[in-house]
Point group: C2
């Protein structure tokens, strides 16, 4: 197996943290998003979505999408479980992972990609070259606020997103919280004590260095 | 179990088709999105994301997100499999389902919600009441074109999205193709013969009536 990766991008970090939690070592190939390598004909043949991470599996096929990559690796390395312990547990992991991806990750990306000059004509990932829309910066910030408020309520009732155990959903949230702070200057943990406590705890896991 | 549903919305149809494929019968409760029932205090306590579908499970908890609802039901009703037959198969189902949701469903919604007067201040689902942004209509159409072109390539190589068998990913694509045609007048199958053949075939399944 090989992992197509890029150190500074949020989504590949989700898989790197997952691998660190499992103690799995996979060779990586860097796709330099800053230099547009994801738009090369060579990489578009690997992922027409022009995004990393991508996992090349041993039959030569390619898997994109963090949820697919991690679920595939979970089948090969089931312990410790990061997808819940039973049917209800797995459903809660998938539910929270999807909520964090759609409401959190996409909101942070909306702020980032519509404001930074580096993302001019890259307002969404993918091959399209879409122009920035300034109104989306404000909208993205409102979405982030609403999302992190929802997370604060959840983490006031539950130690981890999907219940009593750390899971893939927490990995996705950690990456979103850190991207918000480091890339668009949104401090999600400020004035949200449950989120702040959770963030300190998961940041202390060795995998958070990935 | 109970399913919170709304007949005219695309996402609940994903679960209804899934249930029809499995032959599962679950009582439904209609949440009238036209009249804003998803924003009532009562429904926000069920899903703070203000979206249907939601599955109330027998421990009294609520599952949102189609992927979580269907995976939960898959554990209870594994045959016929709609999540692939092995680790690679499941990864491909999750991958394509996510691609169709993020690149297809969200693009159709971007056109719909930013153009129709009925979605004024409802430019995204959820509790925020976001204003429409006219530039997103054109962007959404470009995203739809790019998405359906990608699907055409995939279905030229593979009978179904995730491989040789009909899966959850095909259900999501059917709902996106029909929503594009019926809600924003985008005929994805026109001039895309592989997609047209696939669409005819899956539309002939009895579950497509759901």
């Amino acid at each position: 197996m090989k992992l197509y990766d890029f150190g500074r991008a949020p989504n590949p970090r989700r898989v790197r943290i997952y691998l660190a939690e499992k103690g799995i070592d996979i060779p990586t190939i860097d796709v330099n998003l800053r230099e547009g390598e994801q738009l090369s004909a060579e990489f578009l043949a690997i992922n027409p979505g022009a995004m990393v991470p991508v996992l090349e599996i041993d039959d030569g096929d390619y898997l994109s999408e963090c949820i697919a990559i991690c679920k595939y690796l979970e089948a090969l390395h089931p312990e410790p479980s990061l997808f819940g312990e039973d049917a209800t547990g797995e459903a809660r992991v998938l539910m929270w992972n999807n909520i964090v991806e759609n409401e959190g990750m996409f909101a942070v990306a909306e702020v980032l990609r519509n404001s930074l000059p580096a993302f001019e004509n890259r307002a969404l990932p993918g091959p399209l070259g879409l122009a920035q829309i300034p109104a989306l910066v404000e909208r993205g910030r409102a979405r982030c606020d609403n999302f992190f408020d929802r997370i604060e309520k959840r983490l006031s009732d539950s130690p981890y997103l999907a219940g009593d155990a750390f899971s893939l959903a927490d990995i996705t949230l950690l990456v979103v919280v850190d991207a918000a702070a480091n890339m668009v200057d949104i401090d999600a943990a400020a004035s949200r004590p449950a989120l702040a406590g959770w963030h300190q705890q998961v940041s202390n896991r060795p995998s958070a260095q990935a």
